[in-house]
């Protein structure tokens, strides 16, 4: 009788433990950070672009279209680069700093840039990459990896203007 009781309790305990473990491996975890810009460097590659229009490895006949579609606004045309640094906070009032972020972006066409983003906190680093519109719209980037507690992180982040503070981004991470 005692053995049966122990077995039942053990099974119950194992089952109770198994649920959170199983869920931990399948459910996404979400959290929010607030980002305030601290610095920016724009790199204007106008000379490289102009040279590239004339000296390039393509057969002129096979070029898809002339770079007239390069319609970025002044100072942000295809091939230009931008580096942006941000300070990360855990709260909307920007009172609890938790780390920093860097976006390294290469501008392409139609006021869009391809950005590689790095988020560094005391828990580790996360990497994200993808397209970002320059018109202030919401940015959704795939999260491609990380270090420390974020080692093997995968998922996506959504960055949008925070309603609470001016010039602040609310970044929502969803990771698996």
């Amino acid at each position: 009788m005692r053995r049966l009781l122990l077995t039942a309790l053990a099974a119950a305990a194992a089952a109770a433990l198994a649920v959170p473990v199983a869920q931990a491996t399948t459910q996404a975890r979400s959290f929010v950070l607030y980002a305030k810009p601290t610095g920016a460097q724009f790199v204007n590659h106008a000379d490289d672009r102009e040279r590239g229009d004339f000296i390039n490895p393509f057969n002129a006949d096979t070029l898809p279209t002339p770079p007239s579609a390069n319609s970025g606004k002044k100072g942000a045309r295809a091939g230009d680069k931008g580096v942006f640094t941000l300070k990360l906070f855990a709260d909307a009032n920007l009172k609890r700093p938790v780390g920093s972020a860097v976006y390294a972006c290469t501008f392409n066409f139609a006021q869009e840039a391809v950005c590689t983003a790095t988020f560094e906190t005391s828990k580790g680093t996360m990497f994200a990459m993808g397209p970002a519109k320059l018109d202030g719209a919401t940015i959704v980037l795939p999260v491609t990896g990380g270090t420390g507690q974020y080692a093997g992180a995968h998922g996506q982040l959504t960055s949008a203007a925070a309603s609470t503070k001016q010039n602040t981004q609310l970044i929502r991470f969803r990771l698996v």
Partner: protein, 185 residues
């Protein structure tokens, strides 16, 4: 006294086991890769010729004198129009769902940074109606067949991993066979 307690314990164990099983089964079930075939037609290209930066980098750089010995110099190696190390190229594509190009289903963008021997590291994204697929890898200049690793995605391709195999298609189109395993959202 003992029997009702035992019954209750057993019932609790059964209930707990029953609730645990679906979660365990869900975690154990591997998601089958999603196969997507798309056809990419070049829309716009921008080549960035960094000849001046390369030339400046040969004389002004952060390396020690000893390390400078490995820096490539013009010395007859950079004849022609490249691409040479440091050049980069932006390639925009229109994406179609079939080889006949009957319906546009998205866009793709390749950003390629050239290294040595006309090989580039390319970062690409396929912007489709159901989400974004991110891929990257090595592409020799002019290569029609290459494979990129899928490193992430958004929405329907949340947490995606897999590969994108490229092969020539009709006309100037490139066929991409995407094999993507997305994570549960």
């Amino acid at each position: 006294m003992m029997r009702p307690l035992l019954t209750r314990v057993l019932l609790t164990a059964v209930v707990l086991l029953a609730t645990a099983l679906p979660a365990s089964a869900a975690s154990g079930a591997a998601r089958a890769p999603q196969k997507i075939t798309v056809y990419a037609v070049p829309a716009t290209v921008q080549f960035m010729n960094h000849a001046d930066d390369r030339l400046r980098g040969m004389s002004t750089n952060p390396f020690s004198l000893k390390e400078q010995a490995v820096i490539l110099n013009a010395n007859g190696q950079q004849k022609g129009n490249g691409p040479f190390p440091g050049d980069d190229m932006l390639y925009a594509f229109t994406i179609y769902g079939d080889a006949k190009r009957s319906a546009k289903i998205g866009t793709a963008m390749f950003t390629c940074y050239f290294q040595i021997a006309k090989r580039a590291t390319c970062e690409a994204y396929f912007d489709l109606a159901s989400g974004l697929v991110l891929a990257s890898g090595q592409v020799p200049f002019g290569a029609k067949r290459f494979t990129l690793g899928v490193t992430g995605g958004t929405r329907s391709y949340f947490g995606a991993l897999g590969q994108a195999v490229s092969a020539p298609s009709t006309g100037n189109a490139q066929r991409f066979d995407l094999s993507v395993t997305a994570s549960p959202r």
